[in-house]
Amino acid sequence: MTAAVFIGCSFIAFGPALALCVCTIAAEPLRLLFLIAGGFFWLVSLLLSSLVWFIAVQIGGSNNASVKKNLLIFGVMVSVLLQEVFRFAYYKLLKKANKGLMTISQEETLPISVRQLSYVSGLGFGIMSGVFSLVNILTDSWGPGTVGIYGDSPQYFLSSAFMTLAIVLLHIFWGIVFFDACEKKKWWALALVILSHLLVSGVTFQNPQYEGSLVPSYIIMMLMATWAFFTAGGSLRNLKLCLMCRDKDFLLANQRPR
């Protein structure tokens, strides 16, 4: 659908991710490292899940349309579980790495806190996931044609871009909640994260009825955003202070020695 759609869709899907990278990651080399490593971990999980799906398809045969659909659902569920497993693996790795970094740098505090790590790894997962979802579609959006000659919805590109936006942000929030749950051994929070991930992936099977998939995804994203905000240390009080520009007073007030 030409260059306008290409640029528009890429900005819609990756605009927030780009903004986050530019503002928070780019200046800190350590964060950049962990971002890229996080992306790599997501890639490995994708590789394994695609292997599983491929083997399943070979075994199951590929004649029946409903068999194919069931195999796809199975593949998606396995992929979600594998992604969460690799998130956990990354968490473990980061803990070890942090300890190692601490011994090397001979400082007293961790060079990067677990909270920041959770945010960065979530962003890494999200960007990689978004790229893999959308790049194929973006390259075809550059051509002169739009989807629809076989009866599909012409809003294909737009809705794919919005879905990718939701997934990118969701990965950030999941990362934050997940790492916090692992730290504090809150296993119910972990299960809830995995469940919401499964739900969001499952809801995409409603496509091409994009209202059926986009709306629930955005609702879940809002809920996860609030949960992540509170997990990361935010509170309504802080928010009020920021918004009413009384943060300077708050800081000064907090400077009292304890």
């Binding site: 659908m1 030409t2 306008a4 759609v5 640029i7 528009g8 869709c9 890429s10 900005f11 819609i12 605009g15 927030p16 780009l18 903004a19 986050l20 530019v22 503002c23 928070t24 505090t109 806190s113 909270r115 920041q116 194929n136 579609i137 075809d140 051509g143 002169p144 044609g145 739009t146 989807v147 629809g148 000659i149 076989y150 599909d152 012409p154 294909y156 590109f157 737009l158 871009a161 936006l165 990361a232 240390g233 935010g234 509170s235 802080n238 928010l239 202070l241 920021c242 943060d247 708050f250 800081l251 907090n254 400077q255 304890r258």
Partner: protein, 667 residues
């Protein structure tokens, strides 16, 4: 698996199409051109003249891509489209059955200026002043269009396009059709421009500095020739008669050249004549030899015959013009009216006192021999000039007695001369339904029977005597089937070399000269001629492939071919054998390219442009508004997220601090 799944959702490729490509000669460029990245337009189906108004003036979504019914593909309509800027391309749906009023995109006066008639020789006959040979010719193939034109050969694909048009582009009750609209994109970017002089100059510059490959190629191929008695090039050559024929054709579209009436029927008859003559007893004792020549490229200003004349004049050919006693040419012969074949001669050379009696003898002998046969020969008015024929090129060099046999008295009988409709149906070849390919191969159509019976091969023998001849309608029908319907049949498979399986195909054979050497038609004519006129010799494969190894003076006069033979009925292997024949190939490239006279008016200068990518596809296009909205939303989200991130980042130490945290927070 031609594309990824998203691409398959968007595009429907059109596979069975033929493009119109750019051809250049010394002074002009003809054909069509598209932009570098293809031309896109909203599809509009034009089934009657009034539909054109929407495209030219009324339609609100220019530029349009017109889907034209074959019946409307006329000069007037095309000139209207040519002048409009609202057209981005054209797709022509081949009309079945062929248009009743005839259709010929060739010129009214084919090969004008390259024959024998000019201001110096028979000026009253030049430029078709006396007879217009192709009155139905509209000259479309010689126009220059700046948009791509494709031929849709498959009726199913045409139906898919029309269905897409009806679903999306049809104006509902006078209102404007809404986006998304069905559109088509045609890719046919041609590299050469202006004329042959320019493009050859650029090609030689580019290749000299290894910058780029050539931008155009000369049309060239090979002529096929063979003699009745083998000739020894070192010793004296006997006088001989030459029988000549054309084997190529053209249409508006690239590589669509069925040429049934204009070429195939004639050269099939010629092949049958050669075969029958070789079987006449005592033929080796004739006082004069007979040479059968098949010229390639005659459609494009006599490429093959002009090259042969040039080679004869330059002594590069074993036979010289002085050795030739007379000519007999078979022009279009399949559409005879009440079984009459007309004998054409050149009135200007007949004024010469040495030529006139020879021509007269020739004509009389021909007419006498046809008495009692199923076809009669009659002479046309002696003041009428020769029709466009290869014989004219020989006359241009030297006045030699000769005749041209054709099925038309004045203008062509062929109403589809040099068009895509000049197919088997044009020469009334009909097969009954339900035959297998093998049965179809052997079915002797009426056309074949008549062609075989009127074979005037007995007429060609030295004394022009009437010979007893059993015409083989079987060979003629097999050849007609092979050259007009399907080349991949059992007989053709048995007469070709083993490593040339790619030569035979299942689609309809086309007879365009092209730029790659040795097109399928030339090779097949060569093998058929070798098979029909040659003898089987008992050589091994080694001896056959390397005849110079076994010393034998006779071997220099013959050509040996190792053919794969027919399949054994019980097994799957073939029994190959060696064929000894006098069939040779000689280059058919215009002398203008040898002499590097690219602007020559003496020789043909036709070249074909090169291109990279030719394809066509259809898809839906969205409105410009939707695209702009998408872009604006994207930019808005980017700016919004940048602002939000900056804000949150600046206040992060406040937002994310819990009451237990101390003053120093490392964010």
């Amino acid at each position: 698996c031609w594309a990824n799944s998203v691409e398959r959702k968007i595009y429907i490729p059109l596979n069975k199409t033929a493009p119109c490509v750019r051809l250049l000669n010394a002074t002009h460029q003809i054909g069509c051109q598209s932009s570098m990245s293809g031309d896109t337009g909203v599809i509009h189906v034009v089934e009657k003249e009034q539909d054109l108004k929407w495209v030219l003036t009324d339609g609100p979504h220019p530029p349009y891509m017109v889907l034209l019914e074959g019946e409307l593909f006329t000069r007037e309509l095309m000139l209207q489209l040519k002048g409009s800027s609202r057209i981005s391309g054209l797709a022509v749906a081949i009309s079945k059955p062929s248009p009743a009023q005839g259709f010929s995109p060739g010129l009214k006066c084919p090969n004008d200026g390259f024959g024998v008639y000019s201001n110096n020789y028979g000026p009253q006959y030049a430029h078709c002043n006396w007879t217009v040979w192709n009155p139905l010719g509209n000259g479309l193939a010689y126009e220059d269009f700046n948009f791509p034109i494709f031929l849709l050969e498959d009726a199913n694909e045409t139906q898919v396009i029309k269905q897409c048009y009806q679903d999306h582009n049809l104006p509902q009750n006078g209102s404007v059709p809404e986006y998304p609209l069905c559109a088509m994109q045609l890719f046919a970017h041609m590299h050469a421009v202006t004329n042959t002089v320019t493009c050859m100059r650029r090609s030689s510059l580019q290749t000299a500095f290894s910058l780029n490959p050539e931008v155009c190629d000369a049309l060239s191929d090979y002529n096929v020739w063979s003699t009745l008695k083998p000739i020894n090039t070192s010793s004296k050559i006997d006088p001989m008669d030459e029988v000549i024929i054309v084997i190529d054709s053209h249409s508006f579209f690239w590589n669509v050249a069925p040429g049934a009436e204009s070429a195939v029927a004639s050269f099939v008859t010629h092949l049958a004549a050669a075969e029958a003559l070789h079987k006449v007893p005592d033929v080796q004792k004739l006082p004069r030899n007979i040479m059968f020549t098949f010229f390639q490229g005659e459609t494009f200003d006599y490429i093959g015959s002009s090259r042969m004349v040039y080679d004869m004049q330059m002594d590069k050919f074993p036979i010289r013009l002085d050795n030739i006693h007379s000519f007999l040419e078979l022009s279009q012969v399949a559409l005879r009216n009440s079984s009459v074949l007309w004998v054409h001669t050149d009135p200007v050379s007949r004024r010469n006192e040495s030529i006139q009696p020879q021509v007269k003898t020739l004509v009389e002998a021909l007419i006498n021999s046809s008495m009692g046969a199923n076809v009669t020969l009659q002479e046309v008015s002696q003041s009428q000039p020769l029709p466009p024929s290869s014989f004219q090129r020989f006359l241009r060099a030297k006045q030699i007695p000769g005749v041209v046999l054709a099925d038309h008295r004045t203008s062509f009988q062929n109403r589809y001369y040099q068009s895509m409709y000049d197919t088997a149906e044009n020469i009334l070849m009909k097969y009954p339904e339900g035959l297998s390919p093998e049965e179809t191969l052997d079915y002797v159509t009426d056309t074949a029977k008549v062609s075989a019976k009127h074979c005037f091969c007995p007429l060609l023998a030295g004394g022009w005597r009437r010979g007893g001849w059993r015409g083989s309608g079987c060979w003629v029908s097999r050849m007609l089937y092979g050259f007009l319907i399907k080349t991949n049949n059992s007989w053709f498979q048995s007469i070709i070399k083993q490593d040339l399986k790619g030569l035979l195909g299942d689609e309809l054979p086309q007879h365009y000269i092209a730029v790659t050497t040795l097109v399928n038609t030339t090779q097949l004519v060569q093998y058929v001629l070798a098979n029909l006129t040659g003898t089987v010799v008992n050589f091994t494969k080694e001896e056959c492939l390397n005849p110079e190894k076994t010393p034998n003076p006779e071997k220099e006069m013959y050509v040996y071919t190792w053919v794969q033979g027919s399949r054994d009925p019980n097994s799957t292997s073939r029994v190959p054998f060696c064929v000894q024949s006098t069939v040779h190939l000689t280059k058919a490239a215009s002398p203008a390219f040898e002499l590097k006279q690219w602007g020559s008016t003496e020789y043909s200068t036709w070249t074909e442009s090169r291109w990279k990518d030719i394809r066509a596809r259809i898809f839906l296009v969205a409105s410009k508004e939707l695209e702009i909205i998408t872009l604006v939303v994207g930019i808005a989200i980017l700016i919004l997220s940048l602002l939000a991130t900056y804000f949150i980042n600046a206040k992060a130490h406040v937002l994310f601090s819990s009451p237990g945290d101390g003053g120093a927070v490392a964010y």
